[in-house]
Amino acid sequence: MRTIRNSLVLALGITMTALGATACNGGGGDQQTPAAAAPNEHVDLTLATFTEFGYEALIPEYERLHPNIKITHRKTGQGGPYHQELTTKLAAGSGLADVTALEEGHLSDFLDKGSKFNDLSKIGPADASPDRWLGWKYDAAKTKDGKVIGYGTDIGPLAMCYRKDMFKNAGLPDDPEAVKPLFATWDSYFQAGADYSKKTGKAWFDSAAQNFNAMVNQLPEGYINTDDKLAVETNQGIKDAWTKVTDAVAKGESAKLTAFSPEWNTGFKQGAFATKVCPSWMLGVIKEQAGPENANKWAVTAAFPGGGGNWGGSYLTVPTQSKHPKEAAELAAWLTAPEQQIKAFQAKGNFPSQVKALTDPALLSQTDAYFGGAKIGELFAEQAKKVQKPQYKGPGDGQIQENASSPALQAVEQGKSAADGWNQMVESAKKITR
């Protein structure tokens, strides 16, 4: 059977139409206890990342510290195609980098294929112990049988961003401390939005799907329950979040702008909405899209409806395809160590996930002039600690969010009734998990 499947894999490689293949691990995929290379043996390692990880200066530094190691950094632009390629290479059994980055939103699909990644708690260096990381960040990369497939890099703690000038014009408080009660719970948030929209005729938030995602992410279980069964219809939390968001849409609170679309970008410039759920990395997006002409109009506050939450962040994994898993795990541990996370934060603003980094003066002293000089380092460190535990995400979770709930909410914003939208979401989710 193995040879048959191998030839199928080869054939698929040629076809280019039918891409990907069976669970066939090209070579010794079952090796559990890899042998380390001799101390001075020359080792070539590859590192694959997408978008910005801030590793440009760190790689030469690591090579200086380890003269026998040569690192090739493969950098990709967009996350979506990167993860599709990752799936294909994982299936084909070859082609993955020794250290392969994985995004949090795609993590569930790869936890499902945990056998194809090394258990970092076994092969990693001793100092990369669990207590280095925020508990929920570390635990999220554990498979059901307790393997740790990835070291956490950055995180995306959630806070709330808002337009000071628009708040002021609507007679709302605009000081970052004074607005906190508005953002205490989702009910208070949507109520404030209803009042705001009624008074001004303008939108309160950018898109229903953005808020819904944040709300669903706060639940203990997501679209898939711990038995890996679809729970969209049975999970009351999801239904409640749906009702709250679609009610808000009906009250005119949504600017109906699909996130990251050209229209959404223009929306920032035009001041199309007054508030925005803000993972730490969103500050950069706002700055870029709203532009210098809106400097000091946007503000951020250390409050988020329903406590806290996380949106985004990545992991570094070592696939079993790697020929030098031990060295690869050492590199991954080093790159995610507190000192290096701080450097990556200073380079590209990726928010650290290591406990020690979160109390580092370099992080805590970080301010942002665009947001009225807010102490964003301290603010997001505080928000990061509010996250309790990771949500259980089963296989297909990310796909349901992208292809079931977000389009259904978009359809509601385009005029579909909330009930029809709900049915559309349930049907699409069923189809995805079929």
């Binding site: 059977m1 499947r5 054939a11 698929l12 040629i14 076809t15 280019m16 139409t17 039918a18 891409l19 990907g20 293949a21 069976t22 669970a23 967009q78 979506g80 195609p81 599709q84 799936t87 294909t88 994982l90 299936a91 294929k113 109906k256 702008l257 699909t258 996130a259 990251f260 679309s261 050209p262 229209e263 959404w264 223009t266 929306g267 035009q270 199309a272 796909q399 992208e402 292809n403 977000s406 389009p407 259904a408 978009q410 359809a411 914003e413 385009q414 005029g415 579909k416 559309q424 189809k431 995805i432």
Partner: protein
Amino acid sequence: MTVIDKVAPEGSKAGERVSPRPTFRHRLSRWDVKVSPYLYVAPFFIVFGIVGLFPLLYTAYVSLFKWKAGGDDPDFIGLDNYKDLFADSQFWNALVNTISIFLLSSVPQLIIAVMLAALLGARLRGATGWRVGILLPYAASLVSIGIIFANLFGSKYGLINGVLQTLGLDPIDWQANRFASHVAIAIMVNWRWTGYNALIVLAAMQAIPKELHEAALIDGAGLWRRFFNVTLPLLKPTLIFVTITSTIGGLQIFTEPKLFDAMPGSNNGGSTNQFQTVTLYLYQMAFENSSLGYASAIAWVLFLVIVLIALVNFFLTGRLARTPAVKKK
């Protein structure tokens, strides 16, 4: 049987010496004539066999399995994928979208291409400049075109809605409205391909001998008469070629609807799949859903649909440009 048969000699004519065995050189040159042409065309067919025919057949094979990328052993399920597909409303929706976008793009595109070619064939100052000009959209990057058009057709801040509102008209939600989204995508396709097709038609038009037009002119045929009775019939083979290539391209349409979707990277084709084409659905099934078997079944059904529509077009184009029988009084 007949007289002629009997006249034919049986082989040995007096005085003519037939060599008993052809020389090696002789045989070599005969083989050369017989075999070489096949060798010369063989590379194409070998390459086609590897990258064209084999994937086609292999896709048919894969379509008989429940085959998850990266999953366990694929299960053989026979024609179940096809059964599911024919009961899948999303597939039919995608097929209707594809055909709708195809008709909205190909029909106006070819008509305009022929008219443009006729105009470009006329005496123009700087003819080459004009001819190169209409090819420019084709040379532009498809991705940047997609992004620019998605901006033009934005529902809130799009340029086209801005113009409509300035004129006192209602803005159109190009994303949400199914027909409007098809029109927008078709405009994107036409903008890119019309000039390309026009140049092919122009080349064929210029190959029509002047004498035919002169003769028709002497017979008293006007401009339109000459166009319909001389130019069009002689363009027939080219029109068939252009129609079939645009059928194939039009039914496989992928990039334009993908980039038109406001949600970046989405393969949904809008919030309710209102502009999801068959290829987008295929892509979604194969790469987002990892259902390789099902995606292969879609690929095969799409292939058959393309063949079918190409054949229909072949006959339609043939009828359209048929030389009209000379009416006898």
